[in-house]
């Protein structure tokens, strides 16, 4: 309760004197909803308590457009932003983000140096990952049972009914190929060929008439709850929160899951760069990352946090098995290939839009 007051006080002062930039006030921008809540609980509150600095938390919808506008205008108001992998790399290449020196990251709680402690790929030139999330497919167990794997998602005969898919080629093409029997390891090789792309689209075409398209992460649990769809792809954390938090009978099927990172970046010319960096280092320490996992089912980006992951905030659900990175869930898992999408997204976005409009 006390912490809440401090946060409230910080925010109210921020709102009153939004023009004056006290040195120790930073603006942290993230995706909103349950995800921002998990960060506030696990990172912001302990940081405020420890340093007395203030944090203003803002929501956004992802993408680089706002950062680009701020940087190019020389009018940067954001200090730290939670972005997707593709945006982190692209923003870095385009000079929109401050480079981050990985050597300032502390070693893990068990003494492993940071560069080894973080999962491979979690530290880039301009970004440090905090969580691993994944795109999975889920269904309502009270209406559907006997789902074995990703192939069932595309099987309208065995499981008739609508499917929810994200209105974006990313993840859909990969899942289509895996649903068509391509092993995870070969997916991107196959997508690099024209035949592979054709095959993925053909698979999507087979369920196109039954698809309900979603755009925001909050929609899939809603679609399932309303009975609009029988199965849907979704971000695993959202399904977990609906299941564990609201008691919905949803189940995640981990076959063919696609893993991805969310990373902290600092926009170039951020007003409180030093404090933002300090917060970044603090929030990606072993303990904070492990704590976040008790608020949302996203895996910590540090290996040393894994063993510390405990119970969900309801005090009874064991979190470890709900992590995308849990050994049981990695049977047929694909790691999102940023390079592939950076190279091909223009073409595939157009083709996807054309396919959708047909």
């Amino acid at each position: 309760m006390k912490l809440k007051y401090i946060l409230a006080g910080a925010a109210s002062i921020a709102a009153i004197s939004s023009a004056s930039f006290a040195a120790e006030k930073i603006t942290v921008v993230s995706w909103g909803g349950a995800y921002t809540k998990s960060q506030v609980e696990a990172y912001h509150k302990p940081y405020i308590a420890k340093t007395g600095n203030q944090i203003v938390s803002e929501d956004y919808n992802g993408g680089l457009a706002e950062i680009k506008a701020q940087v190019e205008a020389g009018n940067v108001t954001w200090d730290l932003v939670d972005v997707e992998y593709s945006d982190a790399v692209r923003g870095c290449d385009e000079g929109l983000l401050e480079p981050i020196d990985a050597s300032i990251l502390p070693a893990g709680a068990d003494g492993t140096p940071a560069t080894d402690d973080f999962i491979e790929g979690a530290i880039t030139d301009c970004a440090v990952a905090n969580i691993v999330w994944s795109t999975i497919f889920a269904y309502d167990t009270s209406k559907t049972s006997g789902v074995t794997g990703i192939a069932d998602f595309f099987d309208l005969e065995k499981f008739p009914g609508k499917r929810g898919l994200r209105k974006n080629p990313k993840a859909n093409l990969e899942m289509a190929l895996m649903g068509d029997g391509v092993p995870a390891a070969e997916v991107y090789d196959m997508l690099s060929t024209d035949e592979g792309v054709d095959r993925a689209f053909a698979k999507l075409d087979s369920i196109k008439d039954s698809v309900v398209w979603w755009e925001a992460g909050a929609q899939p649990p809603q679609l399932l709850a309303d009975g609009e769809v029988v199965m849907t792809t979704a971000y695993n954390g959202r399904i977990f929160n609906a299941a564990a938090g609201e008691g919905q009978p949803f189940e995640v099927n981990w076959d063919g899951q696609i893993l991805d990172f969310d990373l902290w970046v600092i926009p170039k010319g951020a007003p409180n760069k030093e404090t933002a960096m300090d917060f970044l280092v603090f929030s990606t320490e072993t303990e904070q990352l492990a704590n976040q996992a008790s608020w949302i089912a996203y895996g910590p980006a540090r290996k040393s946090s894994g063993s510390l992951v405990g119970l969900y905030s309801d005090g009874k659900t064991e979190m470890a098995q709900h992590m995308p990175t849990a050994a049981d869930n990695l049977g047929n898992a694909l790691v999102n290939d940023f390079e592939f999408w950076a190279d091909n997204q223009d073409e595939l976005n157009e083709r996807f839009a054309a396919w959708l409009a047909q």
């Binding site: 993408g63 680089l64 457009a65 680009k68 692209r90 870095c92 290449d93 385009e94 000079g95 209105k167 698809v211 309900v212 398209w213 309303d226 609009e228 390079e339 950076a342 190279d343 091909n344 997204q345 223009d346 073409e347 976005n349 157009e350 083709r351 839009a353 054309a354 396919w355 959708l356 409009a357």
Partner: protein
Amino acid sequence: MSDVSPTGPMLAADGTPLKKKLAQALFLSRVRAFGLVAPLLLFILASFIVPIMTLLWQGVHNNTYEKYMPQSTAVLAEWDAVSAPTEEMYAALVADLVTARETRDIGKVATRVNREKSGTRSLFTSSARSAAKMETPFREALIDKDEDWADIEVWQAMKIASLSLTPAFYAAAVDYTYNADGSFEPAEENRQIYVFLFLKTFAVSLAVTVCCFLLGYPVAYLLSTLPMRTSNLLMILVLLPFWTSLLVRTTAWIAMLQSQGVLNDIFVTIGLTSDDQRFSLIYNMTGTIIAMTHILLPFMILPLYSVMRGISPSYVRAAKSLGATNWTAFWRVYFPATIPGIGAGALLVFILSIGYYITPALVGGQDGQLISNFIADHMQKTLNWSLAAALGGLLLASVLILYWIYDKIVGIDNMKLG
């Protein structure tokens, strides 16, 4: 007065010729009138016209490559786009890659070339990483790093990107590709989308205009024939939607039309359909057209009403007394008189619906992707601002043509609100 010769010019009180004085006075009053308008004109120019112009300029001008790869641009300009790339071109490229890597601009260049040829982005970023260590001959060094550098198509893509003033984006906006040799060819069939979208946008706008006309005409007629007091009262039913927020009305339609919504519940209750076979009225074309018609209907009713108010009822009575049937009197006498109102309303509705963005995006689902949504997407998600500018330029051109027609037919001074 006597010393003024009768043939001389008439003079004003201070002795200047009256003609000159009058011209001065007229000039002054023109300046004064203009002075009143000038602040707003400047404001609109600075805050509205100039921003749009700068954006449109992006549609034909993108100097990303030229700016960050100056040496390579110079040698590419002399290349014929057919012969094998020379060592000089490779050398210039390596030199540029090194600087662009240092200034952290390589990503912008890579993104630009990747728009011309998919798959070249990583080629640029990864080669730039090792470019500083490369030595002569650069051709071998680069091809050693990645054999795609021997691919002439990559070089052709670079040549297209190196032309700052380019028709490439407008070509892309009409589903054509611009080649390095200056020719155009249709884009691959499965990537053609924009022409279809433009046509779809026009079709939706036309459908909405027709719906608005069909619903608006009877209402306007009724309002214009009722006594003033009653019609003023009923007019509130037209004006309230007009004054209600667009998002409120869109929300309202979602509540009405969704499968668990009010209309479907009514249909189930009266037995029109069963509980598990509810109609899909929203997140498709039906929903888009219903919601857009509702939102734009007042723009049709108001001009129609003001025209119909001006038509004297004696015309129809005269026609009838001359033996015309009700239908003839309406069709031959009354209807032609309302055509200016129809023109004004229809053009206004069509112009407004052609640029519609919010409602299709919220209630259109898969079918709701109109050209405006793609412009917004390219501005905000893919960051392909030049393509957005080209699409916007085409959309703007069609709207301005309609606006010009509207001005000719109706005259913008005659626009009325409420």
